[in-house]
Symmetry: C2
Subunit: 381 residues, 2 copies
């Protein structure tokens, strides 16, 4: 269900230091995340990009993962207030995936938190203005913190050859960086944070490219970084890329706003292990989350595999029905998996139907109903 509708460009939909490079590479589609351009397609099909990502290395402009920088004496207190995940044992240099919830335990973001120092954090956000949430909480609570969006533009290097490529650019020290840890590396005299992480199920890294207050200087250094990586990766078959729908669904990587919204709680999103309600720390939504824990949830995120010709669900979710034709879920992210040779999708599924192996029916909104089955996340290998 790809459309031919154009994106109307404006300054409000912000360019990144890498947008010029992305355009040179022949970007065909963008989406908008955090008021910023995110490339969503180049010359290849999603399937061609999927195979490439699984074998080689790609460079992704994910600058839209904006950082909310929180510093000051109350920084830890504020960040902890924002998530049910306990930060007690978080060390500097670590990345934590954290649910952020509101007073009703509704998900308002699912960012990666970076601890830069005891009194300094970056929250690398999905698509909602957590800057305003954090500042509102801090002002209302009279916390002693400074909060801002720094001039940081993440650039991802993803795929099995990413370690080889990153070593060429930053040196063999890259290998010492463990999954969801970051270290600081030099690039042309600037200090850059590099984490082993990324929004794919392949090995990969994210460079939290730190630019300058003067955006034109950021573009200049950003383009140098892009070119350096690109040139070092030519014989590794590097290509421009972006989060790949097939790869991320197979990997069970959820997308905020697509697969879950503020109407969903973290337990529905399978984030039970990050809901540390029995620890001492206080956080927004604790009471609501405890209530949900004790009463149980009514739906849960599952994988769905379904038959028929290749079928993409993006703009309009595809209803999922029980064998008795009751609506039991909807697929917001769905696509044909060439590896599984079936269509796959992500959906919240009602309690009586979420059992693995259960038969279901997918309404593909073209007058057809396809047979399907509930499966685990990530999808079986």
């Amino acid at each position: 269900m790809q459309s031919n509708i154009k994106l109307n460009m404006s300054r409000r939909i912000r360019r990144t230091p890498f947008t010029g490079k992305v355009e040179s590479c022949g970007v065909s589609d963008f989406t908008v995340v955090n008021h910023m351009l995110l490339p969503k397609g180049f010359k290849n099909t999603v399937e061609e990009d999927y195979w490439h990502l699984s074998k080689h290395v790609q460079i992704w402009d994910v600058s839209c993962q904006r950082q909310v920088q929180i510093t000051g004496p109350d920084a830890l207190k504020l960040v902890q207030l924002m998530t049910p995940r306990s930060l007690n044992n978080m060390e500097t240099g670590k990345c934590f995936y954290i649910p952020i919830i509101d007073e009703n335990a509704g998900m308002i973001n699912d960012p990666v938190l970076l601890k830069l120092d005891d009194d300094m954090f970056w929250i690398s956000i999905a698509d909602s203005d957590i800057l305003l949430w954090a500042k509102g909480l801090a002002l209302g609570s009279n916390f002693d913190v400074q909060i801002k969006e720094p001039d940081v533009y993440p650039l991802a290097v993803q795929g099995p050859k990413s370690e080889e490529l990153m070593c060429r650019v930053f040196g063999d020290e890259i290998k010492k960086t463990k999954f969801f840890n970051f270290r600081i590396f030099d690039f042309k005299g600037t200090k850059q944070i590099v984490a082993r992480s990324g929004y794919s199920k392949e090995n990969g890294f994210e460079i939290y490219f730190k630019g300058f207050e003067n955006y034109f200087d950021s573009v200049e250094l950003g383009e140098q970084l892009w070119e350096t990586i690109w040139n070092a990766g030519e014989d590794l078959n590097i290509s421009p890329g972006c989060p790949n729908l097939i790869d991320r669904i197979e990997g069970g990587l959820l997308s905020y706003g697509n697969d879950f919204t503020k109407e969903n709680n973290p337990l529905e999103c399978n984030l039970d292990k990050y809901c540390n309600t029995n620890e001492d720390h206080n956080f927004i939504g604790k009471k609501a989350l405890r209530k949900i824990q004790s009463e149980g949830i009514i739906q849960k995120m599952r994988g769905v595999i379904f038959d028929g010709s290749p079928c993409t669900a993006t703009g309009k979710p595809l209803p999922i029905l029980s064998e008795k034709k009751e609506k039991i879920g909807q697929i917001a992210s769905g696509i044909y998996s060439p590896r599984i040779s079936k269509n796959i999708g992500l959906s919240m599924v009602l309690k009586d139907h979420w059992e693995i192996g259960k038969n279901i029916i997918v309404d593909t909104l073209d007058g057809k109903f396809r047979k399907g089955i509930i499966t685990t996340l990530p999808f079986p290998k």
Copy 2:
């Protein structure tokens, strides 16, 4: 500088109850505002739409103007905390344009506030998550309020024939609705708020279409509303439309994220009359705003008229230079005005250069420099 880049569709970029109708009308471009689709072009050129808007009537899907609904005993206290504009004399049934600023007096939105009752407000927002800002402030401050995004999807009817059309649909009572006031009208047994307002310099109305929690029911009633207006407007030469770049620049209507951002204060945006810092009420950013008032601002929003062939500034702002070639501003919103027969634009201009009538130079990023002049807002008739 229109691109041919496609918008990648996903559930995260939300459809509205009117999106199906908009697609039937041949929408060619969308942008994204508040995580929702905003149509930005149909079959006609921007210039054709401009002339049509100035002579006839158009129907616009502006559902992306999401509402932040604040109710409860502390509702007024919270809304007043969010804006420097005094709400002391605001009556039920009024719409107030309000700057919303942060602790540094930086603009974080410029919505229209609707007072539905003494303890009930809607904030009809530009492109930032004021829902999170309001909830963060309320939670931190322990205010007794409920805050949510209701199922409301504004639909605008704009142009000189809009009053005639609205009377046909809702009755002659429409005429009693004054500018920036709203009244409640019946549509098929539902109560709908209709304001005389809109993001154009023509006469116009905004229907704050209230749907249902079940989105499919909203679509059904929304499509009926669209059809009713459309059918009643056929002999008035109704057409589908959207905020028109020529019209809004001529009218001096600013766009948050384009013409100003959180780096700008309300005085720079010519909103002095809404900065009531001498009144008793407390609001976020009061201290910072008073300091700026006493020290004076260093730049201010102005109109710019410039020579040469038709030139559109949207994606990349066009630098403005003094006659000595110093950078003194940038045009984020610019286009050729067929009425003025020159290019026009909006820009913050540095203090020593903001005098009306001053000569300036516009760098159109195509290797050319055009002569121009500083002018008032709205543009001279």
